[in-house]
Amino acid sequence: MRTRFISSMIVAAGLVLTVTTAMAQAPGYRAPRTKDGKPNLAGVWQAVNEANWDIEAHSAAPGPFYQLGAAFSVAPGLGIVEGGPIPYKPEALQKKKQNFTNRMTLDPEPKCYLPGVPRAMYMPYPFQIVQSTKQIMMVFEFAGALRTVYMADQTEAPADSWMGWSNGRWEGETLVIDTTGFNDLSWFDRAGNYHSDALHVVERITAIDADHLNYEATIEDPNVFTRTWKISFPLYRRIEKNAQILEYKCVEFSEDLIYGHLRKVPLK
């Protein structure tokens, strides 16, 4: 009896330990290794959440065009921001609200502009991690966006870009990516959450089992926010056979939106 009780306590303790460490980067799952000895994060991955609509907790809501009815309405979400609302400075919060009001003309996504970081990581489309020794690339389906993570020969960003300039390193099982060199043009989501060109993102990506990654990012931008803040969510492996990134060139789909008012004969 006592032995069984002790055993079940040990098992229970073990379960508690497992649960509390599941989403952390502490000792846990050990990913298979690449031939150069690093955790192998290669594969096709995708976020499954509603963060692209709004990274904060939000209710279901009508979409901007009644003609699309429920099909383009806003799905509810519990958000990916940890610990309360995004800490905007007061004037920055006003700008965010203006962004929201004018989101159909201001959001870069309908224009097929590059999604920036971290938004590319939780858009509802797959991306592929391609891993080599000196560089890791993330190839995104949407707009064919690309992130290059320099694991060696690291420099500062030569100029500003949509997807930023990423330098990475390994900390045990975790890929730590430090990204700066952003322009101020991308958004965090469709709800108008935005940043300046001082944006600094530090991501930590850890495999938690064969088909899931834990993704965390700290967001720092002294022009817009009063302090750093954090987002986190799992990434799911696309496990279907022959999963691949497909070509999703969307420039042609956005041209009437961007240039339609400059046609010789206006669109009806």
Partner: protein, 350 residues
């Protein structure tokens, strides 16, 4: 006269090797010229066997930054019958082409209405030239020219041209502007031909994929090596769907599932392109391709060119995002139309 008939394959390989040896980056231009002259006069010497370094997964290592920058035309020029220029002929031609590129345009002419490329390093001569001695990229058919186009191909070309004419004048709507100017597609291929400027590529390898980044328009080709079949026919794309495998030390990539819009040199969506990448020195990759589209060309045709090493990086080519030019141009044309209409109206009321 007809040198091509007398050129056995071995001599061609040697010629390529000679050409590549001559672009060793550590030589100053003058020294390279001397070495070139010396080597050109030597009898054919057996090439020292060279094997490519391996990636940690044991594959030949193709990784790094590369350029296919060259003046070599796709098709052999008229009145040129031989397959290779002498080194002297090539250097002379490249020197003259570079001088012509650099030439200042005449103020007040259309050609002058453009930033001078040389200030941004964008002249072809300002990036490492691969100094390809071939008179054409096409190596088969042996005359260096595209094979005859089938009647189906000719009809398709005529139909496409008629469709374009129906769309109206070039600036009536953005869709009438060339797709390159719209940042939709700029000859990424495959096959990957030199783009004229920003001719930079990056190759990254892992156990299951070879990834090629093409600088122009920042196109990324992720090529699976795991033997999976091509995507189903219902899925088409501008760059097609690529599958790779190793044959010895050569990476062979087969691409199908093209849409009917990339239309490489008039090709149909049934085009199949086979590329072969072989690292032949620390400094060079031999790139060969075969284009197979029986509905457009009576026979398959082949091309070949070197990729040489350059330094990186390949900076983000966010073309559509930065495309002020299209909006500026459309605004300008609408403004001119408005002015013309106002002038006509005024004349009418007089």
């Amino acid at each position: 006269m007809n040198d091509r008939v007398l050129m056995p394959v071995g001599a061609i390989a040697l010629a390529i090797l000679v050409a590549i040896v001559l672009v060793a980056p550590t030589s100053a231009a003058a020294q390279a010229q001397k070495a070139a002259a010396a080597t050109a006069t030597k009898a054919a010497a057996p090439a020292k066997p060279w094997t490519a370094p391996r990636t940690p997964d044991g594959q030949p290592d193709l990784q790094g930054y590369w350029t296919n920058n060259s003046y070599t035309p796709l098709e052999r020029p008229k009145d040129v019958t031989k397959e290779f220029y002498t080194l002297e002929e090539l250097r002379e031609a490249e020197k003259k082409a570079a001088e012509r590129e650099e030439e200042q345009t005449v103020p007040g002419t259309t050609a002058d209405v453009h930033y001078d490329f040389t200030q941004f390093g964008l002249d072809r001569s300002q990036t490492r030239l691969t100094e390809n001695r071939r008179t054409s990229v096409i190596v088969d058919p042996p005359d260096g020219k595209l094979p005859p186009v089938t009647s189906e191909g000719q009809k398709r070309a005529a139909d496409r041209a008629a469709e374009r004419r129906k769309q109206g004048a070039q600036y009536d709507q953005v869709q009438n502007i060339p797709i390159g100017s719209r940042c939709v597609y700029q000859n990424a291929g495959p096959p990957m031909l030199p783009p004229g400027y920003n001719p930079a590529y990056e190759i990254l390898q892992s156990k299951d994929t070879v990834t090629i980044l093409i600088e122009m328009l920042h196109e990324v080709r992720v090529i699976p090596l795991d033997g999976r079949p091509h995507a189903p026919q219902g899925y088409r794309s501008w760059l097609g769907d690529s599958r790779g495998h190793w044959e010895g030390d050569t990476l062979v990539v087969e691409t199908t599932n093209f849409n009917d819009k990339s239309a490489f040199r008039g090709a149909s969506e049934n085009m199949k392109v086979t590329e072969r990448f072989t690292r032949i020195s620390d400094d060079a990759i031999r790139y060969e391709f075969t284009v197979n589209d029986p509905s457009t060309w009576e026979i398959p045709w082949k091309g070949e060119m070197p990729f040489l090493k350059i330094n990186g990086p390949v900076f983000e080519h966010a073309c559509h995002e930065g495309n002020y030019g299209v909006a500026n141009t459309l605004k300008a044309v609408r403004l001119e139309e408005k002015k013309a209409a106002e002038e006509a109206a005024q004349k009418g009321t007089k």
